[in-house]
Every structure is written in structure tokens, then in C-alpha cells.
């Protein structure tokens, strides 16, 4: 049987049982050194007997700290994000923080409202790949510390992947395989990492005198990739880089449906290295990002930002990327 009472026990109950004032109970529990040992014992015994736990809501009202962090991301259905969120959650738990999750469904207009809705209940935000304009995001800067993941927005601390280097690796790989013309299937126009990847790709292809065909912007999903496949085939490109793995998988799926050989006719490279990239046939060559590290680093930066009372730190962590070569890339057709 359960003995716990239906109604919560408050600090007053403890004070009464211990025969001291509320203030002393509070002090005894928050900072035992500030009360006499005897008082401390009495309070602790009473608190333990009643199974008292301070009400976080009431506490946060006066201290202003909630021990919660808010995570805002565009689409949980993209396997990239669950990995990051999982790492965030695990890390946060280690510091006794709980996590609010808000999925904005790839709608930039939902991001600021999501932040506003959570603002009072969290001590800070982790914005994963936010789609809203810099200016909009900055408009929340005064309220709570913000750390941005997968994007750089002045003046917030950020954690990003070194896309340029990843693209360099991918292009070097394709070049070595004899490819001279590559296509890029871009993600959302509002995505910073899309622009970042494209920038890196342009630099990398230019450096090797390769031809780059930009095949348009699509949704960062399997369907988006599938929709771009035929466009890509209509270009002279012998290899295609996709904004992310989902898009790449969509490309492969459509190529497969049309009987186009991968990598015989065309090579495919993804980005992110989601779990299932290794499972498709052919397994996907992709640029891996340290997703867990992004989550962890984000929490660490946010905690530092909160502790320093400085929401506009200039900390910028750039994590390395690594090309994972699998079966979806091969020699260019002759």
C-alpha cells in the first residue's frame, strides 16, 4: 500500500514539526552551515519524516531559476535531432536540469512563439538548427541565455560542425574517384547549415576546378530527395551531394525505382551520418557529424552562459566532421 499523502507537504509542516520557523527550515536545508547543528538535525529529521521536497515552482518564482532548459528544434522526425536531444537530455540530467522539448515542424514562424511560451519556465534555451531570421532570434536575447546549435547567430554562443572541411573531404573523395561534375541538392533556403554546406562545397569544387550544378532547394526529407532525383539525372553530374542523409536516401530510393545504378551511373553522398545511413543498399557514403558531442557541448555552453549571467558570450565551438565512405560512391562512369 501507498502511504504518500495526496496533498503535498510544505515547508510550514516541516517547521511546525521541527518547532522552528520557516526561515530556519529553509536555511537548514539550503545551506546547513548557516544554522546551529542542533537546529539542523531537528529540521532534517522532520523533513525526512514527512518526506518533504521543496516545491520547485514556488522556489523558482522567487529565485528566478527553474532548473529547466528549453530545446527547440524543427523536426523530430529527422533522425538527426533525436540523437542530439538524447545527448542533451542525458547531459542535462547530470546537472539536475530537466528538458522542455518543442518541435516547430519546420515552420520558422513557430519558433519565436515557442521560445516565448517557454521563456518563464526555463533558465535558457538550446535552439537546434533554428530556421527563423537572425533578427527574430535576437529579439529574445534579453530574456534568457540562448545557445544555438548547427548555426551561428551573433551574439549567441554556438556549436557547429565544420561543414567546409566535411565538404572538402567529400569532394576530395569524389575527385579521386574521377568525378569532375557534381550536383548539390540543397535543403531549406532558411537553413543556415544549408548555406554553410553550400559555401563549403563551392569552395571545395572551385579549388579542384570541378563543375558544380545546383539542383534546387527541397525539403530536408526523403520525399524532398526523391523529388530532386530526376532533376539531377538531367544534368551532366556523375555524383550528387545532398543537404542531409534523408535527402540522400530519397535520391537513392528514386534512382533505384528508375533502375539507375548507384554508384555505377551516379554516386551519392549524404550529410549527418544518421543511424540508418549504414543500413540502406547501397550503404550511404556521408559526412559524419558528432551529434552527441553537439548536444553535450550545447548544454555545457548554456550552463556556462547561465552561470556567467552573460547571454551573449562569444564562445563558438566548431566540431570536426568526418567523411564515412560506404557503398554509395564509386568511380565515375567512363
Amino acid at each position: 500500500m501507498i502511504k504518500g499523502p495526496a496533498v503535498a507537504v510544505t515547508i510550514k509542516d516541516v517547521a511546525r514539526l521541527a518547532g522552528v520557523s520557516q526561515s530556519s527550515v529553509c536555511r537548514a536545508l539550503a545551506d546547513p552551515a548557516r544554522v546551529r547543528p542542533e537546529t539542523r538535525d531537528r529540521v532534517e529529521r522532520a523533513a525526512h519524516e514527512l518526506d518533504y521536497h521543496p516545491n520547485r515552482v514556488a522556489r523558482s518564482l522567487i529565485t528566478g531559476r527553474t532548473l529547466n532548459i528549453g530545446v527547440v528544434l524543427p523536426d523530430l522526425a529527422n533522425p538527426f535531432f533525436p540523437s542530439v536531444v538524447k545527448a542533451i537530455q542525458t547531459r542535462a540530467r547530470g546537472f539536475d536540469y530537466a528538458v522542455f522539448l518543442s518541435d516547430t515542424d519546420e515552420d520558422p514562424a513557430l519558433e519565436v512563439p515557442a521560445i516565448r511560451a517557454l521563456a518563464e519556465q526555463v533558465d535558457g534555451f538550446l535552439l537546434c538548427s533554428p530556421r527563423a531570421a537572425d533578427e527574430e532570434l535576437r529579439s529574445n536575447a534579453r530574456e534568457k541565455p540562448i545557445v544555438v546549435l548547427n548555426r551561428r547567430v551573433t551574439p549567441f554562443p554556438s556549436v557547429t560542425a565544420d561543414s567546409a572541411d566535411g565538404m572538402r573531404q567529400a569532394v576530395a573523395h569524389l575527385h579521386a574517384l574521377g568525378h569532375r561534375s557534381v550536383a548539390y541538392v540543397a535543403g531549406p533556403r532558411t537553413s543556415w547549415s544549408n548555406r554553410d554546406r553550400l559555401r563549403g562545397l563551392r569552395a571545395a569544387t572551385a579549388a579542384r576546378g570541378m563543375d558544380l550544378v545546383e539542383a534546387g532547394n527541397v525539403a530536408p526529407t526523403v520525399d524532398g530527395g526523391a523529388a530532386a532525383a530526376d532533376l539531377v539525372l538531367a544534368t551532366p553530374a556523375t555524383a550528387v551531394l545532398a543537404y542531409n542523409d534523408l535527402t540522400a536516401l530519397g535520391l537513392i530510393q528514386r534512382f533505384h525505382a528508375r533502375g539507375v545504378d548507384v554508384p555505377g551511373r551516379i554516386s551519392v553522398v549524404g550529410f549527418d551520418d544518421i543511424h540508418l545511413a549504414a543500413l540502406v543498399v547501397p550503404p550511404l557514403t556521408t559526412v559524419a557529424i558528432a551529434k552527441e558531442q553537439i548536444g553535450r557541448a550545447g548544454v555545457d555552453l548554456l550552463l556556462a552562459s547561465m552561470a556567467g549571467r552573460d547571454s551573449t558570450g562569444t564562445a563558438r565551438r566548431v566540431l570536426p566532421t568526418q567523411l564515412i565512405v560506404r557503398g554509395s560512391t564509386g568511380p565515375a562512369p567512363v
Copy 2:
């Protein structure tokens, strides 16, 4: 430029600007019918001008309602859960609820602490596929309403999938293809849905006089499935059903690595119909669960449970399952 003030605007500021009392501001915003139209206008104008939003923390202190719900799940890396969470979040947002997320990393011992940690800050819980013992879960029943997803735990309301029927469909499909001996690769022993699926499978095979080989319990992951593949091949089974899609993908992956033809030598059936089941080669035949519906129904049940002040309702929603036939199943080898 940002005009928002650093410090939050409170109800007092609105009252001052509107030239009325706090009480009137509160009434005007909470229930416009309770104040004179003119007062309402003044308040609304002032609130709008100051961009005032009531502080949820302060409100919850007095009303006892937080407008948050807690979601506890075993592993966000399993694509099944993000789908459910996304649906939960979307549905909850519609009712102005925010979502706390806690990933317990498949560790049953973390579930109750996760619930306790969130208890004060939420109005109720959605437990997705909880792994902890019934008794442990029940020990939280007094505190806050709980709705269980993918499992039945008296006395909580629950939302489950009709696994038995799904298994019936899968077995009928395999039987029609000529299979007479099938294997089952089970998930975690502590998983209710694993037991539920196994029960359904036993009934279905028995009903058709088919042979069922139980190939042991594995982690509900790709690696778990891969680990069981060789065991399955050592049995006389010509088809294998997996606890979930990840396990099935692991099986296929290992079969592929060993040069075993799917479905030529052996057919594979998954469970859940995660997004990527359709993308592997061969695409996975699987029993689809309405993941979004589970999330939505869970929220609805929880809200009802909270409104009714009755955390131990007996509502049990069982959602239909549907076999999706793809390329991983074929005629039994002769």
C-alpha cells in the same frame, strides 16, 4: 533594434498603464465577460502595448495547474518514439500545454526517479513503453494522472496497438506464401509490448498449425537484430518476425552480409513501420502502428483524466494495426 525590456512585464505594469487594478486585468484577460467592455478594451490595449504574457510559474503556484505534461520514454534513438513524441507535442501545443521530455535510456531504474523529478512541474504524465514493474509505476498513482502508452498497467488509462491482430495479419500473409515454420526474435523481457506481441504470435501460429521458433531476447536495436540473425538461420524457420523494425533491419543487414537472400532464403517481418522501413533494400514488410494516433490519443486521455480529477480511469484505447507488405517477404523456399 530591440525594444523589449530586460525585465519581464508583470500584471502590475499592465494595471498601472490601463489605470485599473490587478484584479481587473486578471479578469479581463482570463474571462472577458466578467468586466465592462470599456475596461476590457483598456486592459487589452495596455497588455498588447506592453506585450504582456501572464507568468505561468506564478499562475501555477496558485491554481495548482502547470499546463505542462511529462513524457517519459526508454530510448529516443528508436525512431518509433520521436514519431510518438512529435504527435504528442503537436497535440499538446493545441491545448496550450508544453512538454517535458525524459529519456531513460532503456534503464527501468531511471523511470520512477524521472517521474518524481518532474512531478511538481507537470499536470500529468505520458509514459511511453515504460519498462519498470507495474507496482513501481503504481506507486506514483496518487501524485499525478498518468496515461500509459504501448502497455497496459492497471489502473491507468492506456493506449495500445492491437498487436494480436497485427500478428494475425502477418502470420496469414506468411502462411499464404507457403511458410510453415516461423521464428520470433524477441525484444526486452521487461517490455510489455514484447510479451503482447509474442502472445498474439503464438495464438496466430497455433491457429494455423504453424511451427513457432522463439529465437531469444535481444536489445530492440539494429545490433540486437544482427546478433540474432545467425541463430535464426540455424533453425528450420523460413520466415522470421522481429520484435520491431530496428531488430528486423539488423536481421536483414546481417543476412545481407552473409549473402543470405531475403526473401529468397528467408522472409523478414518487422513491427512499427518506422519511416525508414520503406527505404532499405529489400523494403521491409512490417506491421504498422498508428504512431501519431497513439500520441494524440494519449494526450486526449491524459487531458480527460486531468479534467476528471480521476487519475485511475479505466479508459483503454486499442488502435488498429495494419500489415504493410513490401519486398522482404516472399514465397517460402521449396
